[in-house]
Amino acid sequence: MADYIDALVDAAADGDGVSLDGLHVARTGDGYRLETPSAERDGLSESALSDALSDFDEYATNWFFWSRVVGESSPQRRAFLRWVEGADAEDQSVPARYDALRDGIEREWGQLHVTVTLDDDGQRHYELRHVNEADREHDDLDTYHEPLAARQLATYDEKGRYRPLKSGNNLAGGWVFPDLDGRDLVETVETFYPASVPNWYREREGTLDVEHWVDTIGRQTGMYSVVKTWNRGDGHEHVDWVAESCCDDSQCVKRREWQYDDETDLDVDGGDGAFPCREPCSLVIAASRKWTRLEGENTQTYEFELTPSEKEQLEAIVDAVADDRTDDIREADVYEGANRYRARFLRAKLFDDDGNLCGVPTEDES
C-alpha cells in the first residue's frame, strides 16, 4: 500500500479525522466513513478503507501533499501554493484540478510566471521564469535551481543597470528555474519580490497594515523629516504626482494600497498588481525629500522664444526620459524629437555658453 494511503488512514483514526478539498474520512461508531463529492462509503474496516482510498487516488495524494509535504508550519506559504494551483476555487473538484495540473496551471506574480505541474505521486513541480518568456524554450534560457540565485538575477535590469527597487517593472529575463518544490518556489519568489507573499497573505486575511502617506512621512526623522513640510494643508495633488511618477504599473509591479490618509484617497489608480504595496517605499521617500526642496521654490516668469516644433521637441524629450525610451531612439531617426542629433542641434542653437536656454539666466541678474 502506498505510503500516502497509510498516512491518510493513520490521520483518519485521530480525532475529527481528515477533511480537505471535498475528501472527508473519519472514524464513526461502525468503522470508517469515506466521503467525496461523488461517493459515500460507510462502515469500512481499516483495510477496507485503504482499498477504498485506492479508488480515490487523486484525493489521497492531494491530501498527502497539502497535509504532509506542505503542512501548516507556514500559513502564508501554504496559502500562496494553494493560490498558485487554484486549490481554493470552490467550483472545481480535485479530479478536475488534477486534469488541469497535468497540463500545467499558470500564474503571474509581478513579472514572474509560475507553472505548476504534477507527477505520478501527486507531488507538485514548479517552474519559474520571466513573464515575457512564457513561450521560450528551456534551451534558450539559463537554468537555475537555488532560490538565492534570484538575488543576482534581480540586481540588474536588461541593460545592466542597477535596480534599486526589487518590484520595479524592469526585471531582466533570460533565466528559468525549471523544477522547484513548493518551499523553494516561495523562497525564490520572495527573493525576487521580498515580503510580497506575507503582505499578500495579510491582505487576504484582512490584516494588512496599510500605512498611508501622512502616517509614513510622519514617522520619518533625520534627513527625511523635511518631507512632512511638503503637506501644507492645501490638498494632495503633490502626492498624486508622486504616485503617478513612481507607483504606476509601468514603474512598479506592486498594487498601491496606501492613500493620502485614512480618509482621503489619491486621485491616481493604484494599479493591478497581484500583491499589495502597503506604504510609500524608501525610494518614494528619498525622491520626495528632493521634491520637497524643489517644490519649495516659487515660480518665476521667463521669456523664451521657441518655434512650435522646438516647444514640441522639449516635450518629446521629457516624454522620452520619463518613459525610459532614450536608448530605443535610433541614432539616425531625426524624426524623433528626443533623437540625440536633434537634441544636440537644439542645444547648439538655443543654449548660451553657460547652458542657459535661449540665453535667459535662471536667476534674475538685475
Binding site: P164, L165, K166, A195, P198, G222, C281
Partner: protein
C-alpha cells in the same frame, strides 16, 4: 526555531552596498546555525519595516551590520522593527557596550525579538581588522615591520563613531603585533590624508572601519591618501607614497570573518549556535596558516 536577521543600510545607487550583508548571511546560512537567515535594509528590500514578517521562527535575533551605536541602531532600526517598549537606556551603553535587549515587536506579536548591538563595537571586530590586514598583505603573520591604521568617519556626524575606531585601535595596539597602530579620520585630526606622517614603518596597512565599499572607501580615502589622482583609474596594493608602502584594505566589512562577529552578537544574546564560530573562523580564512 530560531532565525537570524541581519539589518543593514543598503543603497538606491550602489549595488555593492548590500554585498557584504548577503555574503555574511550566506556564510552563516551554510554553517546551519540558524533555521533561517534573513536580511533587511533601510534602502533596499525587504525593508526593515517588513523583514520580521518574512521570518517563520519564534525566536529572532536581529544584528545590525553597522559600525557604531548611534542614530540607526538607537532610533531608526527599533522604530522600523516596531520594538514594543524600546528604550535606548535599556542598552545602558557608554557608546561601545550595547549588547542586546529582548522585546516583543508589534509587527509579529507571537515572536520574541532579541535586538543586538552593532557588529562594529563588538570586541571580535578587532580580529576582523587584523584578518583584513592578513588578507590584503596575503601574509597570515603580518605585523613585524608594519604599521596599521584604522580609519573612520570622525565625530562630525556621530561621536560614537570615533569611539569605536579608538577602541579597536587600542586593542590592536595591545596585541603588540604591529610596530605601530594609529586611529585616523576622514574629517578631523589625525587625518587619513596625512597617513605617512604618523608612521615610521615602511609598510602601512590601512583598514577603513566601514561596512561596505562605496564612495568613502573607494573614492575619497584612496584619493586623500594619494594612492591615485582619480579613483576610476584604480591603484596598486601596495602603492608607494612618500617613501612608505600603503597596503589599502578597503572596507573591513567585506572581510569574510565579519560573519563571525554577526554570530558572536547573536550568541551573546542567547542564540544556540553550536560550533558555528569555529567553523566560520576557519572557512573565511583566505591566507593559509604557517605550516599549512
Amino acid at each position: 526555531m530560531q532565525a537570524l536577521v541581519i539589518v543593514a543600510h543598503g543603497s538606491h545607487l550602489n549595488p555593492d552596498s548590500s554585498t557584504p550583508t548577503y555574503d555574511h548571511a550566506d556564510t552563516i546560512r551554510e554553517v546551519g546555525a540558524f533555521d533561517e537567515v534573513r536580511t533587511g535594509f533601510w534602502k533596499e528590500e525587504p525593508s526593515i519595516r517588513e523583514v520580521l514578517r518574512t521570518v517563520e521562527s519564534d525566536e529572532v535575533y536581529v544584528v545590525p551590520l553597522f559600525i557604531s551605536e548611534g542614530y540607526f541602531t538607537e532610533q531608526v532600526i527599533p522604530r522600523e522593527l516596531r520594538l514594543d517598549g524600546w528604550d535606548v537606556a535599556d542598552w545602558d551603553s557608554d557608546g561601545l557596550s550595547a549588547t542586546h535587549v529582548t522585546l516583543p515587536a508589534g509587527d509579529v506579536p507571537e515572536k520574541t525579538v532579541h535586538y543586538c548591538g552593532p557588529v562594529g563595537t563588538h570586541e571580535a571586530m578587532t580580529d576582523v581588522i587584523v584578518r583584513r590586514a592578513e588578507s590584503v598583505t596575503e601574509d597570515p603573520d603580518v605585523g613585524d615591520g608594519f604599521g596599521l591604521a584604522v580609519v573612520g568617519h570622525g565625530t562630525e556626524r556621530n561621536e560614537n563613531s570615533a569611539k569605536a575606531i579608538e577602541y579597536h585601535a587600542q586593542r590592536v595596539r595591545d596585541m603588540d603585533r604591529f610596530d605601530e597602530v594609529q586611529a585616523l579620520y576622514m574629517d578631523e585630526d589625525p587625518e587619513v590624508d596625512d597617513v605617512t606622517d604618523y608612521f615610521d614603518a615602511d609598510d602601512i596597512v590601512v583598514v577603513p572601519l566601514f561596512v561596505a565599499d562605496g564612495f568613502h572607501t573607494q573614492e575619497d580615502i584612496p584619493e586623500d591618501m594619494g594612492l591615485t589622482d582619480d579613483y576610476r583609474t584604480g591603484y596598486d596594493v601596495p602603492t608607494e607614497v612618500d617613501g612608505h608602502r600603503i597596503w589599502y584594505a578597503g572596507a573591513v566589512g567585506t572581510e569574510g570573518l565579519m560573519a563571525d562577529v554577526v554570530l558572536e552578537r547573536a550568541a551573546d544574546a542567547g542564540a544556540d549556535i553550536g560550533d558555528a564560530l569555529e567553523v566560520v573562523r576557519e572557512r573565511t580564512r583566505k591566507t593559509p596558516m604557517a605550516g599549512d
